[in-house]
Protein backbone atom coordinates (compact mmCIF):
# COMPACT_ATOMS: atom_id res chain seq x y z
CA UNK A 1 0.00 0.00 0.00
CA UNK A 2 1.30 3.46 -0.90
CA UNK A 3 1.97 5.77 2.05
CA UNK A 4 -0.60 8.44 2.95
CA UNK A 5 0.22 12.06 3.68
CA UNK A 6 -1.01 14.09 6.63
CA UNK A 7 -0.16 17.68 7.47
CA UNK A 8 -0.12 17.40 11.22
CA UNK A 9 0.12 14.68 13.80
CA UNK A 10 -2.75 15.94 15.91
CA UNK A 11 -5.42 14.70 13.51
CA UNK A 12 -3.77 11.30 13.40
CA UNK A 13 -3.50 11.21 17.21
CA UNK A 14 -7.13 12.27 17.63
CA UNK A 15 -8.24 9.48 15.30
CA UNK A 16 -6.20 6.90 17.18
CA UNK A 17 -7.14 8.23 20.62
CA UNK A 18 -10.81 7.78 19.77
CA UNK A 19 -10.18 4.01 19.80
CA UNK A 20 -8.43 3.81 23.19
CA UNK A 21 -5.63 5.26 25.30
CA UNK A 22 -2.76 6.72 23.32
CA UNK A 23 0.73 7.32 24.70
CA UNK A 24 2.93 9.91 22.99
CA UNK A 25 6.51 11.11 23.52
CA UNK A 26 7.11 14.16 25.66
CA UNK A 27 10.47 15.84 25.96
CA UNK A 28 11.82 16.21 29.50
CA UNK A 29 15.18 17.97 29.57
CA UNK A 30 17.30 16.14 27.04
CA UNK A 31 15.29 12.95 26.66
CA UNK A 32 11.79 11.72 25.99
CA UNK A 33 9.28 9.90 28.16
CA UNK A 34 5.75 8.72 27.36
CA UNK A 35 2.64 10.60 28.41
CA UNK A 36 -1.04 9.93 27.93
CA UNK A 37 -2.43 11.92 25.01
CA UNK A 38 -5.57 13.97 25.48
CA UNK A 39 -7.50 15.78 22.76
CA UNK A 40 -6.73 19.14 24.43
CA UNK A 41 -3.00 18.58 23.83
CA UNK A 42 -1.15 20.76 21.31
CA UNK A 43 0.39 19.30 18.19
CA UNK A 44 2.55 16.38 19.43
CA UNK A 45 6.29 16.48 18.86
CA UNK A 46 7.82 13.72 16.81
CA UNK A 47 10.74 12.32 18.80
CA UNK A 48 13.91 12.33 16.70
CA UNK A 49 15.26 9.32 18.61
CA UNK A 50 13.91 6.57 20.87
CA UNK A 51 12.01 7.47 24.00
CA UNK A 52 14.04 6.79 27.13
CA UNK A 53 11.33 4.53 28.60
CA UNK A 54 11.75 1.00 27.22
CA UNK A 55 8.64 -0.30 25.46
CA UNK A 56 8.65 -3.38 27.72
CA UNK A 57 6.93 -1.23 30.37
CA UNK A 58 3.73 -1.42 28.36
CA UNK A 59 3.84 -5.19 28.02
CA UNK A 60 5.47 -6.27 31.22
CA UNK A 61 4.94 -3.66 33.93
CA UNK A 62 7.55 -3.09 36.61
CA UNK A 63 5.19 -4.70 39.13
CA UNK A 64 2.00 -6.61 38.47
CA UNK A 65 -0.23 -9.08 40.22
CA UNK A 66 0.37 -12.55 38.74
CA UNK A 67 -1.58 -14.83 41.07
CA UNK A 68 -3.71 -14.70 44.19
CA UNK A 69 -4.29 -17.30 46.83
CA UNK A 70 -6.44 -19.19 47.65
CA UNK A 71 -8.67 -18.01 44.80
CA UNK A 72 -7.63 -18.40 41.20
CA UNK A 73 -6.52 -15.40 39.23
CA UNK A 74 -6.51 -15.06 35.49
CA UNK A 75 -5.47 -12.18 33.25
CA UNK A 76 -7.68 -9.15 33.46
CA UNK A 77 -9.25 -7.65 30.38
CA UNK A 78 -6.74 -5.22 28.90
CA UNK A 79 -8.31 -2.32 27.01
CA UNK A 80 -6.88 -1.52 23.58
CA UNK A 81 -4.07 1.05 23.80
CA UNK A 82 -1.70 2.67 21.34
CA UNK A 83 1.93 3.79 21.63
CA UNK A 84 3.27 6.49 19.37
CA UNK A 85 6.89 7.20 18.51
CA UNK A 86 8.48 3.76 18.77
CA UNK A 87 11.60 3.22 16.69
CA UNK A 88 13.04 0.30 14.77
CA UNK A 89 15.07 -0.72 17.85
CA UNK A 90 11.89 -0.74 19.95
CA UNK A 91 10.08 -2.94 17.45
CA UNK A 92 12.97 -5.35 17.40
CA UNK A 93 12.98 -5.42 21.19
CA UNK A 94 9.32 -6.48 21.06
CA UNK A 95 10.28 -9.30 18.69
CA UNK A 96 12.87 -10.43 21.26
CA UNK A 97 10.37 -10.36 24.14
CA UNK A 98 7.73 -12.14 22.02
CA UNK A 99 10.09 -15.06 21.50
CA UNK A 100 10.42 -15.49 25.27
CA UNK A 101 6.95 -14.68 26.54
CA UNK A 102 4.59 -15.71 23.76
CA UNK A 103 6.31 -18.05 21.34
CA UNK A 104 8.13 -20.57 23.54
CA UNK A 105 6.55 -23.59 25.22
CA UNK A 106 5.40 -21.71 28.34
CA UNK A 107 3.40 -18.59 27.60
CA UNK A 108 2.99 -15.60 29.85
CA UNK A 109 -0.71 -14.73 29.70
CA UNK A 110 -0.14 -11.27 31.19
CA UNK A 111 2.37 -10.31 28.53
CA UNK A 112 0.20 -11.75 25.78
CA UNK A 113 -2.93 -9.94 26.92
CA UNK A 114 -1.11 -6.59 26.74
CA UNK A 115 0.63 -7.46 23.50
CA UNK A 116 -2.60 -8.38 21.73
CA UNK A 117 -4.14 -5.03 22.64
CA UNK A 118 -1.21 -2.81 21.71
CA UNK A 119 -1.42 -0.65 18.61
CA UNK A 120 2.02 0.45 17.41
CA UNK A 121 2.72 3.74 15.65
CA UNK A 122 6.43 3.83 14.95
CA UNK A 123 8.48 6.56 13.33
CA UNK A 124 11.80 7.18 11.59
CA UNK A 125 14.84 8.36 13.57
CA UNK A 126 15.98 11.69 12.20
CA UNK A 127 18.91 12.49 14.49
CA UNK A 128 20.53 9.37 15.95
CA UNK A 129 22.06 9.95 19.37
CA UNK A 130 25.76 9.55 20.05
CA UNK A 131 24.97 6.38 21.98
CA UNK A 132 22.90 4.77 19.20
CA UNK A 133 24.57 1.77 17.57
CA UNK A 134 21.69 -0.29 16.17
CA UNK A 135 23.47 -0.49 12.82
CA UNK A 136 26.02 -2.82 14.44
CA UNK A 137 23.21 -5.21 15.31
CA UNK A 138 21.26 -5.32 12.05
CA UNK A 139 19.11 -2.31 12.94
CA UNK A 140 18.50 0.90 11.06
CA UNK A 141 16.95 4.33 11.52
CA UNK A 142 13.55 3.36 10.13
CA UNK A 143 11.37 0.32 10.60
CA UNK A 144 10.11 -1.90 7.80
CA UNK A 145 8.09 -4.35 9.89
CA UNK A 146 6.54 -4.84 13.31
CA UNK A 147 4.35 -1.69 13.28
CA UNK A 148 0.69 -0.97 12.62
CA UNK A 149 1.48 2.50 11.27
CA UNK A 150 4.81 4.20 10.67
CA UNK A 151 5.33 7.95 10.53
CA UNK A 152 8.11 9.61 8.50
CA UNK A 153 8.56 13.39 8.70
CA UNK A 154 8.74 15.21 5.34
CA UNK A 155 8.44 18.82 4.30
CA UNK A 156 5.14 20.35 5.53
CA UNK A 157 3.87 17.08 6.97
CA UNK A 158 4.26 13.36 7.50
CA UNK A 159 4.06 10.18 5.47
CA UNK A 160 2.05 7.39 7.04
CA UNK A 161 2.85 3.83 6.10
CA UNK A 162 0.58 0.90 6.88
CA UNK A 163 2.15 -2.23 8.39
CA UNK A 164 -0.85 -4.33 9.43
CA UNK A 165 -4.58 -4.87 8.96
CA UNK A 166 -5.22 -2.97 12.17
CA UNK A 167 -3.29 -0.02 10.74
CA UNK A 168 -5.11 -0.21 7.46
CA UNK A 169 -8.46 -0.16 9.22
CA UNK A 170 -7.65 3.07 11.05
CA UNK A 171 -6.58 4.79 7.84
CA UNK A 172 -9.64 3.58 5.95
CA UNK A 173 -11.91 4.71 8.74
CA UNK A 174 -10.43 8.22 8.64
CA UNK A 175 -9.89 8.54 4.91
CA UNK A 176 -10.92 12.18 4.86
CA UNK A 177 -7.86 13.16 6.97
CA UNK A 178 -5.26 11.80 4.57
CA UNK A 179 -3.99 12.64 1.12
CA UNK A 180 -2.03 10.48 -1.25
CA UNK A 181 1.74 10.88 -0.87
CA UNK A 182 3.43 12.29 -3.98
CA UNK A 183 6.48 10.50 -5.44
CA UNK A 184 8.52 13.60 -4.54
CA UNK A 185 7.62 13.23 -0.87
CA UNK A 186 8.44 9.53 -0.94
CA UNK A 187 11.78 10.34 -2.48
CA UNK A 188 12.36 12.96 0.21
CA UNK A 189 11.58 10.40 2.91
CA UNK A 190 14.05 7.96 1.39
CA UNK A 191 16.74 10.63 1.27
CA UNK A 192 16.12 11.54 4.91
CA UNK A 193 16.44 7.90 5.84
CA UNK A 194 19.65 7.54 3.94
CA UNK A 195 21.08 10.60 5.65
CA UNK A 196 20.21 9.33 9.12
CA UNK A 197 21.61 5.88 8.32
CA UNK A 198 24.85 7.49 7.16
CA UNK A 199 25.24 9.49 10.38
CA UNK A 200 24.72 6.32 12.36
CA UNK A 201 27.12 4.24 10.33
CA UNK A 202 29.88 6.77 10.39
CA UNK A 203 29.66 7.45 14.12
CA UNK A 204 29.88 3.70 14.76
CA UNK A 205 32.64 2.87 12.30
CA UNK A 206 35.16 2.58 15.12
CA UNK A 207 32.99 0.02 16.96
CA UNK A 208 32.41 -2.40 14.12
CA UNK A 209 33.44 -5.95 15.03
CA UNK A 210 35.21 -8.24 12.63
CA UNK A 211 33.83 -11.31 14.42
CA UNK A 212 30.22 -12.13 15.32
CA UNK A 213 29.37 -10.81 18.80
CA UNK A 214 28.58 -14.39 19.83
CA UNK A 215 32.10 -15.52 19.08
CA UNK A 216 33.53 -12.42 20.77
CA UNK A 217 31.79 -13.07 24.09
CA UNK A 218 32.22 -16.84 23.96
CA UNK A 219 35.96 -16.41 23.56
CA UNK A 220 36.27 -13.99 26.46
CA UNK A 221 37.18 -16.50 29.18
CA UNK A 222 39.83 -15.14 31.47
CA UNK A 223 39.66 -11.63 30.02
CA UNK A 224 40.72 -8.89 32.44
CA UNK A 225 38.33 -6.51 30.72
CA UNK A 226 35.40 -7.60 32.90
CA UNK A 227 37.38 -6.71 36.01
CA UNK A 228 38.25 -3.34 34.53
CA UNK A 229 34.57 -2.71 33.72
CA UNK A 230 33.61 -3.83 37.23
CA UNK A 231 35.92 -1.22 38.73
CA UNK A 232 33.90 1.53 37.03
CA UNK A 233 30.45 0.03 37.78
CA UNK A 234 28.46 1.35 40.72
CA UNK A 235 25.91 -1.51 40.53
CA UNK A 236 22.99 0.85 40.00
CA UNK A 237 21.32 -1.78 37.74
CA UNK A 238 20.10 1.01 35.47
CA UNK A 239 21.45 -0.84 32.42
CA UNK A 240 19.06 -3.74 32.88
CA UNK A 241 16.07 -1.61 33.92
CA UNK A 242 16.29 0.66 30.93
CA UNK A 243 17.18 -2.11 28.47
CA UNK A 244 14.20 -2.92 26.26
CA UNK A 245 15.26 -6.56 25.89
CA UNK A 246 16.25 -7.44 29.47
CA UNK A 247 13.33 -9.34 30.92
CA UNK A 248 14.41 -10.95 34.18
CA UNK A 249 11.77 -10.92 36.88
CA UNK A 250 10.97 -12.60 40.16
CA UNK A 251 7.77 -13.65 41.82
CA UNK A 252 7.28 -12.03 45.18
CA UNK A 253 4.72 -13.43 47.60
CA UNK A 254 3.07 -10.88 49.79
CA UNK A 255 0.00 -10.27 51.89
CA UNK A 256 -2.43 -7.88 50.23
CA UNK A 257 -5.66 -6.42 51.64
CA UNK A 258 -7.49 -9.61 52.51
CA UNK A 259 -5.73 -12.15 50.35
CA UNK A 260 -2.29 -13.42 49.43
CA UNK A 261 -0.77 -12.23 46.21
CA UNK A 262 2.11 -13.25 44.00
CA UNK A 263 3.61 -10.18 42.36
CA UNK A 264 5.67 -10.39 39.21
CA UNK A 265 8.43 -7.75 39.50
CA UNK A 266 11.35 -6.75 37.33
CA UNK A 267 14.67 -8.09 38.52
CA UNK A 268 18.26 -7.52 37.45
CA UNK A 269 21.03 -10.08 36.88
CA UNK A 270 23.42 -7.34 38.07
CA UNK A 271 22.02 -7.70 41.59
CA UNK A 272 24.48 -9.46 43.89
CA UNK A 273 22.12 -12.12 45.26
CA UNK A 274 20.26 -12.66 41.98
CA UNK A 275 21.67 -16.18 41.54
CA UNK A 276 22.39 -17.02 45.18
CA UNK A 277 20.90 -20.23 46.52
CA UNK A 278 20.03 -21.05 50.11
CA UNK A 279 23.17 -22.01 51.94
CA UNK A 280 25.07 -19.12 50.43
CA UNK A 281 26.43 -20.61 47.19
CA UNK A 282 26.44 -18.02 44.43
CA UNK A 283 27.89 -18.66 40.98
CA UNK A 284 28.14 -14.92 40.31
CA UNK A 285 29.14 -13.42 43.63
CA UNK A 286 31.77 -11.34 41.84
CA UNK A 287 30.62 -8.30 39.89
CA UNK A 288 32.78 -9.01 36.86
CA UNK A 289 31.12 -12.43 36.57
CA UNK A 290 27.72 -10.73 36.54
CA UNK A 291 28.81 -8.27 33.85
CA UNK A 292 30.07 -11.19 31.79
CA UNK A 293 26.86 -13.15 32.34
CA UNK A 294 24.82 -10.21 31.06
CA UNK A 295 26.85 -10.19 27.85
CA UNK A 296 26.76 -13.97 27.53
CA UNK A 297 22.98 -13.96 27.90
CA UNK A 298 22.59 -11.26 25.28
CA UNK A 299 25.01 -12.48 22.65
CA UNK A 300 25.48 -16.20 23.27
CA UNK A 301 22.74 -17.92 25.28
CA UNK A 302 19.84 -16.03 23.71
CA UNK A 303 21.41 -16.44 20.28
CA UNK A 304 21.73 -20.19 20.83
CA UNK A 305 18.09 -20.50 21.89
CA UNK A 306 16.36 -18.10 19.55
CA UNK A 307 18.77 -17.37 16.72
CA UNK A 308 19.08 -13.59 17.19
CA UNK A 309 21.06 -11.26 19.45
CA UNK A 310 19.35 -10.03 22.61
CA UNK A 311 20.57 -6.48 22.06
CA UNK A 312 19.12 -4.03 19.57
CA UNK A 313 21.85 -1.43 19.91
CA UNK A 314 19.56 1.28 21.24
CA UNK A 315 22.29 2.65 23.49
CA UNK A 316 19.94 3.27 26.41
CA UNK A 317 22.28 1.44 28.78
CA UNK A 318 25.13 3.73 27.73
CA UNK A 319 23.07 6.85 28.48
CA UNK A 320 21.67 5.45 31.73
CA UNK A 321 24.97 4.35 33.22
CA UNK A 322 25.96 6.08 36.44
CA UNK A 323 29.25 4.25 35.99
CA UNK A 324 31.47 4.12 32.95
CA UNK A 325 30.43 1.06 30.99
CA UNK A 326 29.82 1.35 27.26
CA UNK A 327 28.75 -1.99 25.85
CA UNK A 328 29.98 -1.10 22.34
CA UNK A 329 33.46 -0.31 23.61
CA UNK A 330 33.58 -3.45 25.70
CA UNK A 331 32.61 -5.62 22.74
CA UNK A 332 35.16 -3.89 20.59
CA UNK A 333 37.90 -4.41 23.17
CA UNK A 334 36.96 -8.08 23.58
CA UNK A 335 37.00 -8.39 19.81
CA UNK A 336 40.50 -6.91 19.87
CA UNK A 337 41.68 -9.54 22.38
CA UNK A 338 40.25 -12.25 20.14
CA UNK A 339 41.93 -10.95 17.04
CA UNK A 340 45.31 -10.57 18.76
Amino acid sequence: MEPAFVENLKVLCDAIASEGELYIPKKVNSHYVFKLYTSSDDEPVLNEIRVCTPVKEFLFPIRELAAVFPNEYETQDVKPFAVFGLKDCDLRSIEILDKVFSEDDFKDPFYISHREKMFIISSDCTEPAKSCFCCLFSGKTWPDKGFDLNVSPVECGFLIEVGSDKGKKILNKNKQLFKKATPQLIQQRDENRKKADEILTSQNAEYRLNNPAQKVVESSDGSQLFDIEAAGCVECQACTRVCPTCHCFYLHDTELKNYYGKMKMWDSCMRMSYAAVAGGENPRKILSDRIKHRLMHKFSYYMQRYGIDMCVGCGRCIDAESGTMDIRKLLKQLNGELTK
Binding site: A66, K107, F249, Y250, K262, P283, K285, H297, Y301
Partner: protein, 275 residues
Protein backbone atom coordinates in the same frame (compact mmCIF):
# COMPACT_ATOMS: atom_id res chain seq x y z
CA UNK B 1 -10.13 -13.04 23.66
CA UNK B 2 -8.09 -16.23 23.83
CA UNK B 3 -7.88 -17.49 27.36
CA UNK B 4 -4.31 -18.26 28.42
CA UNK B 5 -3.95 -20.44 31.46
CA UNK B 6 -2.04 -18.73 34.22
CA UNK B 7 1.22 -20.61 34.88
CA UNK B 8 1.96 -18.51 37.99
CA UNK B 9 -1.22 -19.62 39.78
CA UNK B 10 -0.68 -22.30 42.43
CA UNK B 11 -3.39 -24.78 43.36
CA UNK B 12 -4.24 -25.40 46.99
CA UNK B 13 -2.74 -28.34 48.84
CA UNK B 14 -3.65 -29.44 52.36
CA UNK B 15 -0.81 -30.33 54.66
CA UNK B 16 -1.99 -33.65 56.06
CA UNK B 17 1.10 -34.87 57.89
CA UNK B 18 4.55 -33.77 58.99
CA UNK B 19 7.37 -36.24 59.65
CA UNK B 20 10.56 -35.27 61.51
CA UNK B 21 13.35 -36.84 59.50
CA UNK B 22 16.48 -35.32 60.99
CA UNK B 23 17.41 -32.30 63.10
CA UNK B 24 17.12 -30.05 60.02
CA UNK B 25 14.80 -31.91 57.64
CA UNK B 26 11.07 -32.56 57.81
CA UNK B 27 8.86 -34.37 55.33
CA UNK B 28 5.54 -32.79 54.47
CA UNK B 29 2.66 -34.90 53.18
CA UNK B 30 0.44 -32.80 50.95
CA UNK B 31 -2.93 -33.50 49.41
CA UNK B 32 -3.33 -31.25 46.37
CA UNK B 33 -6.80 -30.17 45.23
CA UNK B 34 -6.18 -32.07 42.01
CA UNK B 35 -3.54 -34.79 41.70
CA UNK B 36 -0.20 -33.55 40.36
CA UNK B 37 1.14 -36.33 38.15
CA UNK B 38 4.94 -36.10 38.08
CA UNK B 39 7.96 -38.13 37.07
CA UNK B 40 10.84 -38.81 39.45
CA UNK B 41 13.24 -35.88 39.34
CA UNK B 42 10.67 -33.28 38.27
CA UNK B 43 9.97 -30.57 40.81
CA UNK B 44 7.17 -28.38 42.14
CA UNK B 45 7.07 -24.77 43.33
CA UNK B 46 5.66 -24.72 46.85
CA UNK B 47 4.08 -21.48 48.07
CA UNK B 48 3.75 -20.52 51.68
CA UNK B 49 0.98 -17.94 51.18
CA UNK B 50 2.18 -14.41 51.77
CA UNK B 51 5.68 -15.60 52.68
CA UNK B 52 7.35 -16.99 49.58
CA UNK B 53 7.76 -19.77 47.09
CA UNK B 54 10.58 -22.28 46.64
CA UNK B 55 11.34 -25.27 44.40
CA UNK B 56 11.35 -28.81 45.79
CA UNK B 57 11.53 -32.25 44.26
CA UNK B 58 8.84 -34.58 45.60
CA UNK B 59 10.32 -37.52 47.50
CA UNK B 60 7.28 -39.78 47.13
CA UNK B 61 6.89 -42.40 44.44
CA UNK B 62 5.20 -40.97 41.33
CA UNK B 63 2.65 -43.80 41.26
CA UNK B 64 1.21 -42.50 44.54
CA UNK B 65 -1.12 -39.97 43.01
CA UNK B 66 -3.43 -38.47 45.64
CA UNK B 67 -0.79 -37.29 48.03
CA UNK B 68 2.73 -36.02 47.54
CA UNK B 69 5.60 -35.97 50.00
CA UNK B 70 8.27 -33.32 50.03
CA UNK B 71 11.30 -33.42 52.32
CA UNK B 72 12.54 -29.99 53.19
CA UNK B 73 15.71 -28.83 54.84
CA UNK B 74 15.56 -25.64 56.88
CA UNK B 75 17.75 -23.29 54.89
CA UNK B 76 16.29 -19.77 54.84
CA UNK B 77 13.13 -17.67 54.92
CA UNK B 78 10.56 -19.90 53.25
CA UNK B 79 11.90 -23.20 54.53
CA UNK B 80 12.13 -21.85 58.09
CA UNK B 81 8.49 -20.78 57.86
CA UNK B 82 7.58 -24.26 56.56
CA UNK B 83 9.28 -25.83 59.57
CA UNK B 84 6.93 -23.83 61.83
CA UNK B 85 3.73 -24.72 60.01
CA UNK B 86 1.15 -27.03 61.59
CA UNK B 87 -0.86 -29.87 60.09
CA UNK B 88 -4.06 -28.76 58.38
CA UNK B 89 -2.57 -25.63 56.78
CA UNK B 90 -3.22 -24.91 53.11
CA UNK B 91 -0.17 -24.36 50.94
CA UNK B 92 0.14 -23.65 47.21
CA UNK B 93 1.64 -25.92 44.55
CA UNK B 94 2.63 -25.32 40.93
CA UNK B 95 3.84 -28.16 38.79
CA UNK B 96 5.07 -30.62 37.85
CA UNK B 97 7.94 -28.62 36.38
CA UNK B 98 11.08 -29.49 34.45
CA UNK B 99 12.45 -32.75 33.17
CA UNK B 100 13.00 -35.74 35.45
CA UNK B 101 15.13 -38.86 35.10
CA UNK B 102 14.75 -40.66 31.75
CA UNK B 103 14.05 -43.97 33.47
CA UNK B 104 13.20 -45.75 30.22
CA UNK B 105 16.74 -45.15 29.01
CA UNK B 106 18.05 -46.94 32.11
CA UNK B 107 16.49 -50.29 31.07
CA UNK B 108 18.91 -53.21 30.93
CA UNK B 109 21.53 -51.28 32.89
CA UNK B 110 23.08 -51.14 36.32
CA UNK B 111 22.03 -48.00 38.11
CA UNK B 112 24.59 -46.44 40.41
CA UNK B 113 23.00 -43.91 42.73
CA UNK B 114 25.15 -41.53 44.75
CA UNK B 115 23.37 -39.26 47.21
CA UNK B 116 24.06 -36.99 50.08
CA UNK B 117 22.11 -34.94 52.62
CA UNK B 118 18.72 -33.67 51.47
CA UNK B 119 19.68 -34.93 47.98
CA UNK B 120 18.17 -38.19 49.13
CA UNK B 121 14.72 -36.61 48.64
CA UNK B 122 14.59 -36.76 44.83
CA UNK B 123 16.58 -39.98 44.99
CA UNK B 124 13.93 -41.60 47.16
CA UNK B 125 11.32 -40.87 44.51
CA UNK B 126 13.58 -42.27 41.80
CA UNK B 127 14.59 -45.26 43.90
CA UNK B 128 10.98 -46.23 44.62
CA UNK B 129 10.04 -45.78 40.94
CA UNK B 130 12.97 -48.02 39.93
CA UNK B 131 12.11 -50.65 42.52
CA UNK B 132 8.55 -50.84 41.16
CA UNK B 133 9.98 -52.09 37.88
CA UNK B 134 13.29 -53.49 39.05
CA UNK B 135 13.11 -56.40 36.57
CA UNK B 136 13.91 -53.83 33.88
CA UNK B 137 17.33 -53.14 35.38
CA UNK B 138 20.38 -55.30 36.07
CA UNK B 139 20.85 -53.87 39.57
CA UNK B 140 20.37 -50.79 41.72
CA UNK B 141 23.50 -49.89 43.64
CA UNK B 142 23.23 -47.02 46.15
CA UNK B 143 25.90 -45.06 48.00
CA UNK B 144 24.54 -42.53 50.48
CA UNK B 145 26.24 -40.18 52.84
CA UNK B 146 25.19 -37.89 55.69
CA UNK B 147 27.00 -35.63 58.16
CA UNK B 148 26.18 -37.81 61.15
CA UNK B 149 23.94 -40.88 61.62
CA UNK B 150 21.15 -38.56 62.90
CA UNK B 151 21.29 -36.59 59.66
CA UNK B 152 20.16 -39.50 57.48
CA UNK B 153 16.59 -39.06 56.31
CA UNK B 154 14.11 -41.93 55.81
CA UNK B 155 16.05 -43.77 58.55
CA UNK B 156 13.43 -46.45 59.08
CA UNK B 157 13.39 -47.65 55.49
CA UNK B 158 16.98 -46.77 54.69
CA UNK B 159 18.40 -48.81 57.58
CA UNK B 160 15.67 -51.47 57.20
CA UNK B 161 13.37 -52.50 54.35
CA UNK B 162 15.31 -50.99 51.46
CA UNK B 163 18.43 -52.94 52.38
CA UNK B 164 16.48 -56.21 52.02
CA UNK B 165 15.14 -55.63 48.50
CA UNK B 166 16.41 -58.20 46.04
CA UNK B 167 18.61 -56.64 43.35
CA UNK B 168 19.29 -53.58 45.51
CA UNK B 169 22.60 -52.96 47.24
CA UNK B 170 23.01 -50.05 49.63
CA UNK B 171 26.11 -48.75 51.41
CA UNK B 172 26.10 -45.83 53.82
CA UNK B 173 28.70 -43.52 55.25
CA UNK B 174 28.83 -40.58 57.65
CA UNK B 175 31.28 -37.70 57.88
CA UNK B 176 31.35 -38.02 61.66
CA UNK B 177 30.29 -41.13 63.59
CA UNK B 178 28.75 -41.48 67.03
CA UNK B 179 28.76 -44.41 69.48
CA UNK B 180 26.46 -46.81 67.67
CA UNK B 181 27.65 -46.28 64.11
CA UNK B 182 29.38 -49.44 62.84
CA UNK B 183 29.55 -48.52 59.16
CA UNK B 184 31.98 -46.48 57.11
CA UNK B 185 33.18 -43.06 58.26
CA UNK B 186 34.19 -40.55 55.59
CA UNK B 187 32.62 -38.49 52.85
CA UNK B 188 30.54 -40.33 50.26
CA UNK B 189 33.36 -40.51 47.73
CA UNK B 190 35.26 -42.80 50.14
CA UNK B 191 32.71 -45.58 49.56
CA UNK B 192 32.73 -45.31 45.76
CA UNK B 193 34.77 -48.17 44.28
CA UNK B 194 35.62 -48.76 40.62
CA UNK B 195 34.11 -52.25 40.66
CA UNK B 196 30.80 -51.30 42.36
CA UNK B 197 29.11 -51.62 38.95
CA UNK B 198 30.22 -52.68 35.48
CA UNK B 199 30.78 -49.21 34.11
CA UNK B 200 30.35 -50.07 30.44
CA UNK B 201 26.71 -50.95 31.11
CA UNK B 202 25.85 -48.51 33.87
CA UNK B 203 24.39 -45.08 34.46
CA UNK B 204 25.20 -42.98 37.50
CA UNK B 205 22.74 -40.69 39.26
CA UNK B 206 24.20 -38.07 41.59
CA UNK B 207 22.21 -35.77 43.86
CA UNK B 208 23.30 -33.81 46.88
CA UNK B 209 25.02 -30.62 47.97
CA UNK B 210 27.06 -29.02 45.15
CA UNK B 211 30.43 -29.85 46.69
CA UNK B 212 29.45 -33.50 47.01
CA UNK B 213 28.15 -33.62 43.43
CA UNK B 214 31.38 -32.13 42.19
CA UNK B 215 33.70 -34.60 43.90
CA UNK B 216 31.44 -37.59 43.20
CA UNK B 217 31.35 -36.66 39.51
CA UNK B 218 35.13 -36.31 39.36
CA UNK B 219 35.51 -39.70 41.01
CA UNK B 220 33.09 -41.32 38.57
CA UNK B 221 34.98 -39.84 35.63
CA UNK B 222 38.19 -41.17 37.11
CA UNK B 223 36.60 -44.66 37.27
CA UNK B 224 35.84 -44.42 33.58
CA UNK B 225 32.23 -43.19 33.47
CA UNK B 226 31.59 -41.11 30.35
CA UNK B 227 30.08 -37.64 30.86
CA UNK B 228 26.82 -38.76 29.24
CA UNK B 229 26.48 -41.66 31.68
CA UNK B 230 26.31 -39.33 34.69
CA UNK B 231 22.94 -37.77 35.59
CA UNK B 232 23.02 -34.75 37.88
CA UNK B 233 20.16 -32.93 39.55
CA UNK B 234 21.20 -29.30 39.48
CA UNK B 235 20.20 -26.73 42.05
CA UNK B 236 20.06 -23.11 40.95
CA UNK B 237 18.20 -20.07 42.23
CA UNK B 238 14.72 -20.28 40.76
CA UNK B 239 11.63 -18.14 40.63
CA UNK B 240 9.18 -18.77 37.79
CA UNK B 241 10.05 -22.42 37.21
CA UNK B 242 8.96 -22.20 33.56
CA UNK B 243 11.89 -20.73 31.63
CA UNK B 244 10.87 -17.06 31.66
CA UNK B 245 12.39 -15.19 34.60
CA UNK B 246 16.06 -15.96 33.85
CA UNK B 247 17.13 -16.80 37.40
CA UNK B 248 18.17 -20.41 36.92
CA UNK B 249 20.32 -19.99 33.81
CA UNK B 250 23.20 -22.41 33.45
CA UNK B 251 24.80 -21.48 30.16
CA UNK B 252 22.11 -21.56 27.54
CA UNK B 253 19.95 -23.83 29.68
CA UNK B 254 17.11 -22.90 31.95
CA UNK B 255 17.61 -25.41 34.76
CA UNK B 256 13.90 -25.19 35.58
CA UNK B 257 12.75 -26.14 32.10
CA UNK B 258 15.60 -28.02 30.42
CA UNK B 259 16.54 -29.71 33.75
CA UNK B 260 16.84 -29.95 36.71
CA UNK B 261 18.18 -33.35 35.62
CA UNK B 262 21.08 -33.01 33.18
CA UNK B 263 23.80 -35.34 32.01
CA UNK B 264 27.25 -34.08 32.91
CA UNK B 265 28.07 -33.91 29.20
CA UNK B 266 25.33 -31.30 28.67
CA UNK B 267 26.72 -28.83 31.19
CA UNK B 268 30.38 -29.63 31.76
CA UNK B 269 31.75 -26.81 29.63
CA UNK B 270 29.90 -23.99 31.38
CA UNK B 271 31.62 -21.94 34.08
CA UNK B 272 30.96 -22.47 37.78
CA UNK B 273 28.37 -25.22 37.44
CA UNK B 274 28.92 -26.37 41.01
CA UNK B 275 28.60 -22.93 42.70
Amino acid sequence: MISHKNPYQPIGAELINIIDESPTIKSFVLKPEKPIIFEAGQFVELTVPGCGEAPFTPSSVPSQKDTMEISIMKAGKVTAQLHEIKKGATLGLRGPLGKGYPIDNFCGKEIYIVGGGVGLAPIRSLFLALVERKKDFVSIVCRYGAKTPEDFIYKKTLFGDWQKIDGVQIKLTVDKANGQWKDNVGVVTTILKPDDVKIANAVAVVCGPPIMMKFATLKLLEFGFKPDQIYLSMEKNMSCGIGLCGHCMLGKYYVCKDGPVFTYSQIKDYPKIWD
